[in-house]
C-alpha cells in the first residue's frame, strides 16, 4: 500500500515538476512533509543539503532518500526500504520518460506554437513563486530554532542564513563551499 502511495506521489511530482530542481522542491515538500508526513521538516532540509553536496538532480536524490526513509520508518527491513527507494525514483522519472518520447516522436514541431508558449508564459512566473514558497516554508523553528527556546542557536542560524545569502548571491561563492563553512560554523558554535 505504501509502495503504491510512494509511486503515485512521485509520479505526480515528476509530472508537475516544472522549473527544474528548486522548482520541484515545494512539490516534494508539500507531498512528503505535509501530506504524507514521511519526512520531518529538518529531515527534508537535510536532504536538500545532501543533494547539494552529491552529484545528480535534486529531485532524484530526494525521491531516492524519501522512498527509503518512508519504508524504513514504517518499520520494514533493509531490502523493503531499498525497494521503496527504487519505486519512488522510477515513479519520478517515468513522466519525463513518457513525455520526452512523445515529444521526440510527434510533438517536437508543436513546442514552438503560440499555445505552448502562452502556457509557458503563465508557468514561468509561477515557478518563481514556488521556489520562494519552498524557502519560506523552510523558515521554521525546527530549522532555525527560536528566540524563546534557544536564542543563541536562533541568532547563529540567522547569521548563517544571511552570510550564505550574501555569499552565494553577491560574492558568488560556490554553494558547496558555503555549505562546508556552515557545517564548520555549526560545529564550532552549536556543538
Amino acid at each position: 500500500m505504501i509502495y503504491l502511495q510512494l509511486f503515485l506521489t512521485f509520479f505526480q511530482i515528476g509530472l508537475f515538476g516544472f522549473g527544474g530542481g528548486y522548482g520541484m522542491l515545494s512539490l516534494i515538500q508539500n507531498q512528503t512533509v505535509y501530506n504524507h508526513a514521511w519526512l520531518t521538516a529538518p529531515e527534508f532540509t537535510n536532504i536538500v543539503a545532501i543533494s547539494q553536496m552529491t552529484p545528480g538532480p535534486i529531485s532524484i536524490n530526494a525521491a531516492t532518500y524519501c522512498g527509503y526513509t518512508a519504508i524504513h520508518k514504517a518499520g520494514m527491513g533493509e531490502w523493503a526500504s531499498i525497494l521503496g527507494s527504487a519505486t519512488a525514483t522510477c515513479a519520478l522519472v517515468l513522466p519525463s520518460f513518457i513525455l520526452m518520447i512523445l515529444i521526440c516522436r510527434v510533438f517536437m514541431k508543436y513546442m514552438n506554437t503560440p499555445t505552448v508558449q502562452n502556457i509557458m508564459s503563465g508557468l514561468r512566473p509561477a515557478v518563481v513563486g514556488l521556489i520562494a514558497a519552498a524557502a519560506l516554508l523552510l523558515m521554521t523553528p525546527e530549522n532555525f530554532s527560536s528566540p524563546a527556546i534557544n536564542p543563541w542557536n536562533f541568532w547563529v542560524s540567522i547569521a548563517i542564513f544571511v552570510a550564505t545569502f550574501v555569499g552565494t548571491k553577491f560574492v558568488k561563492i560556490n554553494p558547496m563551499k558555503m555549505i562546508s563553512w556552515a557545517a564548520f560554523a555549526g560545529l564550532m558554535l552549536l556543538y
Binding site: 505526480q12 515528476g14 509530472l15 508537475f16 515538476g17 516544472f18 527544474g20 530542481g21 512539490l27 508539500n30 532540509t45 537535510n46 543533494s51 547539494q52 552529491t54 552529484p55 545528480g56 538532480p57 529531485s59 532524484i60 531516492t64 527509503y68 526513509t69 533493509e78 527507494s85 527504487a86 519520478l92 522519472v93 513522466p95 519525463s96 520518460f97 520526452m100 518520447i101 521526440c104 517536437m108 505552448v116 508564459s121 512566473p125 509561477a126 515557478v127 518563481v128 513563486g129 514556488l130 520562494a132 514558497a133 519560506l136 523552510l138 530549522n143 540567522i158 542564513f161 550564505t164 558555503m178 555549505i179 563553512w181 556552515a182 557545517a183 555549526g186 560545529l187 552549536l190 556543538y191
Partner: protein
C-alpha cells in the same frame, strides 16, 4: 559505430556521477560528450533540445538523456541513457540514506547539520530574484509569483493547483487579451 547502448549508458553515467549542482551545470558536459565527441546530434539540434527539455516537467538531465537515447535507438536507447544518468545519484543517495539514519543523532553530525540547514534555506532563497529577472517579471505580472508563494506558504495550497491555474491563465491571456493589445 561501436555499441550505442553501452556508449550511451557510459556517457550518461559519467555525466550523472561527475556533475555537481544539477541541471544547468550538466549542460556543458552533455554537449561535450553528445555533440563534440560522439556526434550524436548537431549543435543546433542540441540547443533546440535544451529549450524543449527546459519547458517539460522533470529533471533537465533526465529529459535530455531520454530524448537523445530515444532518437538514436528508440525505447532501448532511451532506457540505457536514462539508467545511466539516474543510477549514480540513486546509488550514492541510497548509501547515504542507509547510513545517515545511524549518524543523524550523533551530536557532532547533528550540530553540523544545525549549521547547514539555515544555509540551505538561503541557497534556495538566493536564486529567486535572479530567476524573477530571467522569467521577465515586471510590475504588471509580479503578482503571479507573489500570489503563488503566499497561497502555498500561508494557505497551504498544493503547488500543483497553482501550476495548473497559472498555465491556464497564460493560455487564456494569450488567446483573449494579447491580440487586443
Amino acid at each position: 559505430m561501436q555499441n550505442f547502448y553501452l556508449a550511451a549508458f557510459r556517457v550518461f553515467f559519467k555525466i550523472g556521477i561527475f556533475t555537481l549542482g544539477g541541471g544547468y551545470a550538466m549542460i556543458p558536459q552533455i554537449e561535450a560528450e553528445v555533440v563534440n565527441r560522439h556526434k550524436w546530434m548537431t549543435r543546433e539540434e542540441f540547443l533546440d533540445l535544451i529549450a524543449v527539455a527546459q519547458s517539460c516537467p522533470g529533471a533537465l538531465a533526465v529529459n535530455m538523456s531520454v530524448f537523445i537515447g530515444y532518437r538514436m535507438r528508440k525505447l532501448a536507447g532511451a532506457i540505457c541513457a536514462t539508467l545511466g544518468v539516474t543510477l549514480p545519484s540513486f546509488l550514492i543517495i541510497l548509501l547515504i540514506a542507509m547510513f545517515f539514519h545511524q549518524f543523524q543523532d550523533n551530536a557532532v553530525v547533528a550540530s553540523a547539520f544545525n549549521g547547514i540547514r539555515p544555509a540551505v534555506v538561503a541557497l534556495i532563497a538566493a536564486p529567486v530574484f535572479t530567476l524573477a529577472k530571467s522569467a521577465r517579471i515586471a510590475l504588471t505580472n509580479c503578482w503571479i509569483p507573489v500570489g503563488s508563494a503566499l497561497l502555498i506558504w500561508l494557505l497551504g495550497v498544493n503547488p500543483i493547483y497553482v501550476l495548473v491555474v497559472a498555465g491556464m491563465c497564460g493560455y487564456l491571456y494569450g488567446i483573449l487579451i494579447k491580440p487586443t493589445e
